[in-house]
Amino acid sequence: MNSDFTSRIRKRTWLLLMLGLAVFLTAHAQTTLTVTGRVTDETGQSLPGVTLLLKGSSNGTTTNAEGIYRLSVPAGNAVLVVSYVGYLSQEVVVANRSTIDVQLTPGDKTLGEVVVVGYGTQEKKDLTGAIASVSSKDIQKLPVSGVDQALQGQVAGLQISQSNGAPGGNTNILIRGIGSISGGNEPLFVIDGYPVTNSGIGNPLNTINPNDIESIDVLKDASSTAIYGSRGSNGVIMITTKRGKAGKARIEVDAYTGFQQVAKKLDLLNTRDFAQFVTEGRNNGYLDNVATGKVTDPNSVRPNSYQIPSILQGDLSKLPDTDWQDVIFRTAPIQNYQVSASGGTDKLRYALSGGYFSQKGIIISSGLERYSFRLNLDGKLSDKLTVGVTMLPSFTKIDDVSAIGHSGGAVVQAALSLPPYVPVYDANGNYTITYQPTEGDIAYPHPVQLANELQINGTQFRLFGNAYAEYEILNGLKFRSTVGADLNYSKNRRFDPNTYNPVSVLTNATATNSEATNWLTENTFSYKKQVGRHAVDAVVGFTAQNAYANSIQAQATRFPDNLIDNINGGTVNAGSEGTTVHTMLSYLARVNYSLNDKYLFTATVRRDGSSRFGADNRWGTFPSASVGWRVSEENFMKGLTFVSDLKLRASYGLTGNNAIGDYRAIGQLRDANYVLGNALAPGLGRSSFTNSLLGWESMKQLDLGIDFSLLNSRVAVTADYYDKRNTDMLFSIQTPSATGLTSALVNLGEVQNRGIELALTTRNTVKAFKWTTNFNITFNRNKVLAMSAETEKIFSSALGRQVYAVTQVGDPIGSFFGRRMIGVFQTNEEATTYGKQPFAKAGDFKWEDINNDGRIDDNDRTVIGSPHPDFFFGFNNNFSYKGFTLDVLTNGMVGQKIFNSTFSINTSGVQNQIQEAFDNRYVSPTQPGNGVYGRAIRGSRNNNTVFSSAYLFDGSFLRIRNVSLGYNIPTSVVNRLRLGSARVYATATNLFTFTNYNGFDPEVSGSGDDVRAAGLDFGTYPQARTITFGINLGF
């Protein structure tokens, strides 16, 4: 049987299955009756916007401005589920009544809460998977540009670290650990049902205004993510935007403004200490490297590297004490304005908003601006046909600064390195020249000049639009079709003038225009039915998605002057275009079945075909199954009144990771150009092997969970144990050089993430003074179980650092890898006696001889720490009393190590250094320091700056992430002002961090999204402390 024929058969089988199911599900029809009524709160006031849902179906409505509803229900034993945020859900048996008024009582909202799952919604009590929800209220507490920053510390199992403090800077988002070594680790984002591909400038979540988000649901286990098949293994984050509710038009204005400052400055050496440090470093280096050298030798006989600047040999009291941090950091404003309107009738509901957000960076010449809009419409065209649309246009603008990395081209490291005796400006008010060093000093770009004159700008226009039509074919059976597009147009411009470092920088400019368009069509049948004790909720569907990306770049150099700050000012010398297309076809199905509302079963399956997979391995199938037992519904539990709810859950399933890149299965050729006849000659060489079997990564996940709440839901606990095994990973195996290539992409290996998550919510006091506590904690253990060979090591580094991380069997991904420092030699004799480091002297690092060959070299490297935390947690408290609310969010991570490369590079008596390293350094046997810091030496023959445990520091921290104090202006005042509501608030973000870490901030990762090289601190853009004041008005 040829493969074409096989696939056609496969196709037909799928179609038949789906058709059969659809026909089966449509086989019933019933008579209906119309119910009306009014919904009120505990005081008898009408409640607009209350959701009424026919139990076991998706048929429902909401109350209008007067709290009145009208709904068609089948005759017989129909049950209405009445729910409203902040109130206990009620179930009302219709019993053929035509008028039913309902009074809701406030209370625990969590059980009746509707959770957004893939291709549908479910009530929280019916969930069998591990899903955590965050409401808009919790997102909007923080004045941040992206929702990812607001989620930090809110969800167990969701590890978010802001590795870059720049406005719109990168965050690392991991759900239940690092699953993939070489593929992507970012979860799938689904906006209003649309799985989006991230693209554009900076962090893509910046293009979504957090205030437009109604709720976020984090899908963690296989049962909930398998419906997303080959994209589900890193977890899924479902973002639901705010939609209109029937009722009176409601207009809201939200505005806040405030300022940000660097949360911590480093304590650097002043000129006097610096002079001492430099003198020691240069003298030590001179004596070690030049056999005939003497400390008393003048500069004229010393090699450049060991000269001591004359200025430091003169009167130091006349020299300035510049702290370069003071001139690159600033107090930066932040502001946000949003106007939104929502309302409608039961026929047409609308929600729209317009917002403006602006955040200047705490480093000069950086900032982010965003204009965002939202339009959501839902229309009920007939009793059977509903249509709707989501439109989220946004325009984002980033002014970037080259902040991160080596001092040669980045502001922060330059500021930390520059000698304090150099003034910022010369006598004429011009930038001091810092690029023409003499007497052993080295060149730096002037950080202020660099920030101001190197221009890096980006803009992105994003239009996310999704439209749906839903038709109720029969009672309970619906067909839904959605068509959507996510259109991104972005632009990056860079202009690098040769002003701040003419020694090695030539004026050059780059212009890049990118386009990323993504379209999706999804067609699903859903069926909801309750017959007696049996409730079924099923969905089957078919989807097709296409992602196209194109970018065009042009570069120019040879600028006659710096008057024109774009490529037009010079000679265009390079240009390129890149296009990628990724297509996917999928079939999906899910059945939820519950018996007696006690025994819950869910089964899902998705079949994905993807253009990314090799020709001989194009389709993958991803099944999952889960069960839940609502123990609290059992009769034997009825007596235990202190138990409000108790449910046990278990799930197991297979998901995939298709983040393996486009065209990776196809052998490619790359430019290998040369010069012939004194002109550029285009050449080509093979750059990758063909692997027609290359496919997705497979994740098998087991989840065991328990949800329980006690004491009238005053205490609610969710706990999960999970074991994730990622196999068939996208793996770049090392190949012998003799093949002509040094690596090849194959699927192999295994990584395990195992962990425990615990989320605890307690309502400590519920009277006039309300106090709620949310606590969550996650313990995750990451371990590589298999690679292509037992001995294989994948070495990693970032920002041009030497290798500092390894991925190997038996250890977590990206473990720190280097020599183990076992002390500082106190005397030359001690170094000689040790005998394994031929050039070591007193004050040099002593390393362990790992391989016991009597000699210390690169073969003595071993795992010396992990950049991943042992556990992380969030501890959030909300207080309210009368009109006042106080929210205190704290979060923390414990056990991770950080490679402080800023400190390691600055230990040579060339760059400036932190005071702690100076105070505790080795000077002599009588002044040995604290045994952690070695001597100052330039060009150490012992190679003290080789990566070792001496440069690893504990990164554990506890952060007071957010404190927000609000006051709801009393109704009497509000009414006098003719307002619907009014609230004022003040927020302090990143208020204080408890940590022993000696860098700016322990939440740092210089490698961006590369998890194999995490935990590097090297000229980081530090985090800001933000204070804002806001007002929220409703009309």
Binding site: M584, G609, S611, V675, G740
Partner: protein, 481 residues
């Protein structure tokens, strides 16, 4: 009910009509193997790709390549004039004779040369079956074989027995069990390749093709191979062909051999060279800025010229090695430079490849691999080793004369050897010959230890990179490592 069926039909249509073609996506802005190696242009591009390997970091590219460290810094010619930092540890390991099996420079050389070999094999595998014109076919074959021979010649001299591959490996696992072949077998391939190359390659290279290999390049290299194999009669015969052809000659001025102002047509001395071109297109040479004194700065290198790398710093011993009046000294190295304050800083550096005003790592000066002075001195060596010292002497003196030095006279075979050794050292300084010369004459221990250098006898071969042994259990390590 109607809508239901319509939608089902739509769904069915959508899912069947375009499934396979919808998922069939091939790169549109990158070239893939699927359609390559068909036309003359394709093969030409592939051959250019072979030449481009010369700019691999394992050879001459990316920080001046691995070769200068492995053939100059390891000798008494140069050292590394950089402040010690972990990043340059691999080169210091070579400088200090503390070479480890994981040395990154040695690893890069291994990998870079095999990359070039794979590219030549890909061409040589496919040429027989193509229908491109015979003339192109012959030339591409000659070029691929010349280059393959050169790559293997470096490998066999650095590592001894090496893996011998003569066709492309299409599976990632295709070389996992490939053991090392005896050096003699490798030399057999080298000699055969060069014999084929001298047949197939043209005698003259048009200006528009400057940089491609000629017949004389193949013959010169073959002469060098024979000399290394101590087949002195073969070597002398082959080198004589080059000398007698008059295709190449010494340039009247030593400095003009390396000047970027000397055109290809005018430069009769260079037989084969790495081609460089400025213009910020990734084809410039970094031998000037990289080998200028560490941190010298703008005064020496000019605006945009780079900071000065301090790599390949001439030793005091080399500075002394030039005889008084040798014009090659100032054309090859200087010992001081002026800093921004106008003060002299004592730090020797290479000026052979100087291009004043060039941007950082972007100079035009080509780097000679084979040139006529080398041919003359090799020819003299081959003759002398056959006992024809008197016949050899004129070729030595031809080189000395151009350098402004008096003729040598009255040499015995033994003193001629030493004279050639000294002459090659200064004539060919910084051109990656010194280490191979000392190995060929087996004088590396005597010469280097006499100067207090701590070279170890087993270091005549570099270690097989640890990475390769980890991937292939059949690879053995060289003794002493």
């Amino acid at each position: 009910m109607k809508i239901k069926y319509i939608s089902l039909v739509l769904l069915a249509l959508l899912s069947t009509a375009c499934e396979e073609s919808f998922l069939e996506q091939v790169p549109v802005t990158e070239r893939s193997e699927v359609n390559f190696y068909k036309t003359t242009a394709d093969f030409n591009n592939a051959v250019v790709g072979v030449y481009a390997t010369l700019k691999n970091p394992g050879l001459y590219g990316g920080g001046s390549g691995a070769l200068f460290s492995m053939s100059e810094i390891i000798t008494d010619n140069t050292d590394l004039g950089v402040t010690r930092q972990p990043v340059n540890l691999p080169i210091f390991e070579i400088d200090d004779y503390l070479i480890t099996i994981s040395n990154a420079t040695v690893g890069a050389a291994w990998t870079g040369h095999y990359l070039g070999i794979a590219r030549t094999n890909a061409i040589l595998d496919r040429l027989p079956a193509t229908t491109i014109p015979q003339a192109s076919k012959d030339r591409f074959e000659g070029e691929a074989k010349f280059m393959r021979a050169m790559f293997y010649f470096n490998l066999v001299r650095f590592f001894g027995d090496v893996q011998l591959l003569t066709s492309e490996v299409s599976s990632p696992y295709g070389a996992n069990d490939l053991p090392r072949s005896p050096a003699a077998q490798v030399y057999e391939l080298i000699v055969n390749d060069l014999k084929a190359a001298e047949e197939k390659l043209p005698a003259t290279i048009a200006n528009a093709e400057a940089g491609r290999a000629s017949r004389w390049a193949a013959k010169s290299l073959l002469g060098k191979v024979y000399l290394t194999l101590k087949q002195y009669d073969n070597a002398a015969a082959k080198l004589k062909e080059v000398v007698d052809s008059k295709a190449h000659d010494l340039m009247p001025s030593y400095a003009s051999v390396f000047a970027n102002t000397t055109s290809f047509a005018a430069n009769r001395e260079v037989i084969f060279a790495v081609q460089y071109l400025s213009g910020q297109i990734g084809q410039g040479s970094d031998m000037w800025s990289n080998w200028a004194p560490f941190n010298a700065g703008t005064v020496l290198l000019g605006t945009g010229g780079g900071g000065g790398g301090g790599f390949n710093r001439p030793t005091a011993d080399l500075v002394k090695a030039y005889e008084a009046g040798d014009v090659r000294k100032d054309a090859s190295l200087l010992t001081t430079y002026k800093n921004a304050q106008g003060r002299d800083v004592a730090d020797a550096y290479v000026v052979k490849f100087r291009q004043q005003g060039a941007l950082n790592a972007d100079s035009d000066v080509d780097f000679p691999i084979l040139r006529y002075a080398d041919v003359l001195l090799m020819y003299a060596e081959a003759l002398n080793e056959q006992g024809k010292t008197a016949d050899a002497l004129p070729f030595l003196n031809q080189v000395r004369k151009r350098a402004g030095l008096a003729d040598k006279t009255g040499l015995t075979q033994a003193t001629m050897r030493l004279a050639l050794e000294d002459e090659r050292r200064v004539e060919l300084a910084f051109e990656n010959h010194r280490w191979f010369d000392l190995l060929r004459t087996d004088r590396y221990m005597t010469v280097l230890t006499a100067k207090g250098l701590k070279v170890l006898s087993h270091q005549k071969l570099y270690p097989i990179p640890l990475r390769e042994i980890d991937l292939n259990k059949k690879l053995t390590q060289n003794t002493g490592y």
